[in-house]
């Protein structure tokens, strides 16, 4: 492998590395015949990012296939290096932009070093010989083309929107319907929801370059990764496309510069049924997938349902009704005159205070839905299914056990193949079902992995702590389900028959 990034593209390349470094701790590098892939996954496996730089991005590109050393054409380099190491090469992008005339990336097989050579002004040459580990390929498979919801926005729109959220805000919820696109901060129930500031921002569909809402939904994902994406798009001023379906299924952010490079960031979204049912999720289309329509049928007047869950109003029907009207009014009139409506509430509130009525009673309703400690370890995502929702879950059909997932496969074209196996849903549920691994040389032969426990336990999963969904070595963060990756060990590629699913990465020795 040997390629040369011209000076003009160093900024983009370096920015890509920087944005990846904000997600994962290891960088997977794989030269392919259609370009150089840089990938990473975060430690809780809830976020995956990939950049693919086409040969035309480079001044010179040789993926190394057919090198003298490798008889087998499949024996290309797949390696990972510590993010820290690569950042030593691309530390100061502003300086690099000014001083580096070209960057040569090559493989020194003899010493097992990945070599970055920066040819700078004044004839200075900086050489970084980075230790790497040969590893299986890392790839999450996601179907962005089949997603019912698709938004394209210029980076400024998204950057401006995200700026309204606090720096320490961890997650953001995106709520979409054909009338508007809303971003709000996701507030966890701990420690005290009444102490937390709520921020809510509405965007008009017309503000987007492209806006297609096939299903009303709300999805919650991490802001940190979103900021990593926006950091890149801001510098390159390229539009960002969001593709997503429903809560619990991954959202994909894509940046595409025609033919020279593309970036895809896949983020797990929070699988929280209760949040969803209390949210204004309404299916417009009667031909909607059974899953969503079933869910919706339970909450035809979802807005009032939402109000019921608000701690301040919990037990008071009169105030619910009032609030319901108020909230609708607020939406209609763009929030102009709810002033008068607030009046009664506040008198009540004042009385409560004077007579020291405890707010806690009311808050309970809210707290019920979440009882699980929020700080990682495995399987917390299950708390989502609290008892009240059994009927919903059970009625979801064959794949009901899957709140979300990414399919894994090794393929040159990740968007292909998803619809082949499953008609019902555009994204193939992975857990407990099939994992498609395709080796390039196998011409996309499916290799199906059955998860023994899973098939039988569709119904059981209503009970919390689903051990069968616990994937060793892949602790999901919070209630994010970890993304599930397929990968291959290099040594196994020689034996096509033994190709199997290996969980990527951090089970590996570190150096």
């Amino acid at each position: 492998m040997k390629c040369v990034v011209p000076g003009a593209n160093i900024k983009v390349f370096g920015r890509a590395v920087h944005s990846l470094s904000k997600i994962g701790e290891e960088l997977y590098i794989e030269p392919l015949d259609h370009g150089l892939a840089l990938r990473t996954v975060n430690s809780s496996r809830s976020a995956y990012a990939c950049f693919l730089f086409a040969p035309s991005f480079f001044q010179h590109y040789d993926d190394g296939v057919g090198d003298v050393s490798s008889q087998d054409s499949d024996d290309t380099l797949r390696c990972k290096i510590a993010m820290k190491s690569i950042l030593t090469v691309f530390r100061s992008l502003s300086t690099m932009e000014k001083t580096v005339e070209r960057c040569k990336i090559k493989l020194n097989m003899k010493d097992s070093r990945l070599v970055f050579q920066l040819y700078c002004r004044h004839g200075i040459v900086k050489t970084h010989n980075l230790a790497f580990i040969e590893c299986e390929t890392l790839q999450a498979v996601f179907s962005k083309d089949m997603c019912p919801n698709s938004l394209t926005a210029c980076s400024k729109l998204l950057c401006d929107a995200v700026m309204n959220f606090q720096n320490n805000q961890e997650e953001v919820t995106l709520i979409v319907n054909p009338e508007k696109i809303v971003l709000k901060n996701y507030v966890e129930d701990e420690p005290d929801p009444t102490k937390v500031m709520h921020t809510n921002l509405s965007l008009q569909p017309e503000e987007f370059d492209y806006c297609q809402i096939g299903v009303d939904t709300e999805v919650t994902f991490c802001l940190k990764e979103l900021r990593a994406i926006l950091g890149f798009s801001e510098v390159t001023t390229l539009p960002v496309t969001l593709k997503f379906e429903t809560a619990g299924r991954p959202i994909v952010f894509s940046i595409d510069s025609d033919s020279t490079f593309e970036g895809n960031f896949v983020l797990a979204t929070l699988a929280d049924q209760l949040t969803q049912s209390q949210a204004p999720t309404q299916s417009r289309s009667t031909t909607q997938k059974s899953r969503s329509s079933m869910k919706q049928s339970r909450t035809p007047h979802s807005r009032s349902t939402m109000m019921n869950h608000r701690p301040g109003n919990g037990g008071d029907n009169r105030s619910n009704t009032r609030n319901y009207g108020q909230s609708n009014a607020a939406e209609r009139t763009d929030g102009l005159e709810e002033f008068m409506n607030d009046e009664n509430d506040f008198d009540e509130m004042m009385i409560q205070h004077e007579t020291t009525i405890n707010h806690r009673d009311q808050t309970n309703i809210h707290n019920n839905k979440q009882t699980i400690d929020s700080k990682h370890k495995h399987s917390e995502d299950l708390s989502v299914r609290s008892k009240g929702d059994n009927s919903v879950v059970n009625s979801k059909g064959d794949h009901s056990n899957i709140d979300y997932s990414m399919e894994i496969m090794r393929s040159a074209s990740p968007t292909a193949g998803c619809s082949k196996t499953n008609e019902e849903s555009p994204v193939i549920p992975i857990l407990g079902s099939r994992v498609k691994i395709t080796d390039r040389s196998l011409d996309e032969t499916d290799i199906t992995m059955e998860d023994g426990n899973h098939g039988n336990d569709v119904d059981n999963q209503d009970n919390n702590e689903e051990d069968d969904e616990y994937i060793p070595g892949t602790p999901p963060a919070k209630r994010f389900r970890s993304l599930f990756f397929g990968s291959q060990d290099l040594t196994q590629t020689q034996h096509k028959a033994s190709t199997s699913v290996v969980l990527a990465a951090d089970s590996d020795d570190d150096e």
Partner: protein, 283 residues
């Protein structure tokens, strides 16, 4: 025994054996910052000016030279005055009115010393506001003599500081050593580190327009503790030119030419002993 910390001292100039006055205190503070990698410094005052020395680990020594001509007034009543002082505190005092480089206003300084056991007294003034400081002086230690003589110099390179700055800023601090290779043949000047991530080399060709003088007689490869050399980046950042020299024992001398705001020239010099355990370089 704690010394008297009166702010009223040294108003009587006759008592002072050293008095130095300068219109811009930044000329002094900037150059002292360039050697501020240890808490304490030894001050040598002579009719030539001030030399301030900082040492660490018996392996590195930095000297800042502030010539008598830099000061608007410089009176010394003895051939040599030596005392040790807390450099961190001295710098806090010198920059009490801030370090804003382009504020228009500048701080004037009068510095007095009345002799052994007495404090160093600073009187600073900026736009009518006065600050008096009295800093305790300490018993001076012996300083190292590196015996670095120009007659034993094997290789010598003078270059613009700019590109070396970048290399020093980006030094891989997970590497124990910084290796200097100087050679009449390619790669001429190579700085290498060997860190956790791998090795890094920066090559500076002798025909680069950054090179002002290249006099290398033989190939020399020496390693120095990166932790000891890294602080010299402060001097590098202030300087416009640097002279890199090695002698027959592998000792390193880095001389930095620093222009102050009034266009006067000062020098900061670092000496470093080579690292003892010399393994073969990785590459």
């Amino acid at each position: 025994m704690p010394m008297a910390l009166s702010t009223q001292t040294a108003t009587d100039d006759d008592q002072n054996i050293l008095l130095a006055r300068i219109d811009n205190a930044r000329s002094v503070s900037n150059i002292l910052k360039a050697i501020h990698f240890k808490e304490t410094a030894t001050v040598f005052a002579s009719p030539m000016g001030l030399k301030v020395t900082v040492e660490d680990a018996k392996c590195i020594q930095a000297n800042a030279f502030i010539q008598e001509g830099i000061f608007q007034e410089y009176v010394i009543k003895e051939e040599q005055i030596t005392f040790k002082i807390n450099l961190t505190i001295l710098l806090e005092c010198l920059t009490i009115f801030g370090t804003g480089a382009v504020g228009g206003s500048c701080t004037s300084l009068k510095m007095c010393y009345a002799g052994y056991g007495r404090p160093l007294v600073l009187m600073l003034e900026e736009e009518g506001v006065l600050t008096d400081c009295s800093i305790k002086t300490l018993e001076p230690d012996e300083v190292l003599d590196f015996n670095f003589s120009s007659t034993n110099v094997i290789n010598k390179i003078i270059m613009k500081s700019e590109c070396l700055k970048e290399a020093f800023n980006e030094l891989d601090m997970t590497s124990d050593v910084l290796e200097f290779l100087m050679s009449p043949d390619a790669p001429y000047l190579r700085l290498s580190t060997f860190g956790n991530a791998g090795s890094t080399h920066s090559d500076f060709p002798k025909d680069s327009d950054m090179m002002e003088s290249f006099q290398c007689a033989q190939t020399q490869t020496n390693r120095y503790k990166v932790s000891l050399l890294k602080p010299s980046v402060k001097a590098l950042a202030l300087s416009s030119r640097v002279s890199i020299r090695t002698d027959n024992r592998g000792f390193l001398s880095l001389q930095y030419m620093i222009k102050n705001e009034d266009g006067q020239i000062c020098f900061v010099e670092y000496y470093c002993a080579p690292d003892e355990d010399v393994d073969d370089p990785e590459h």
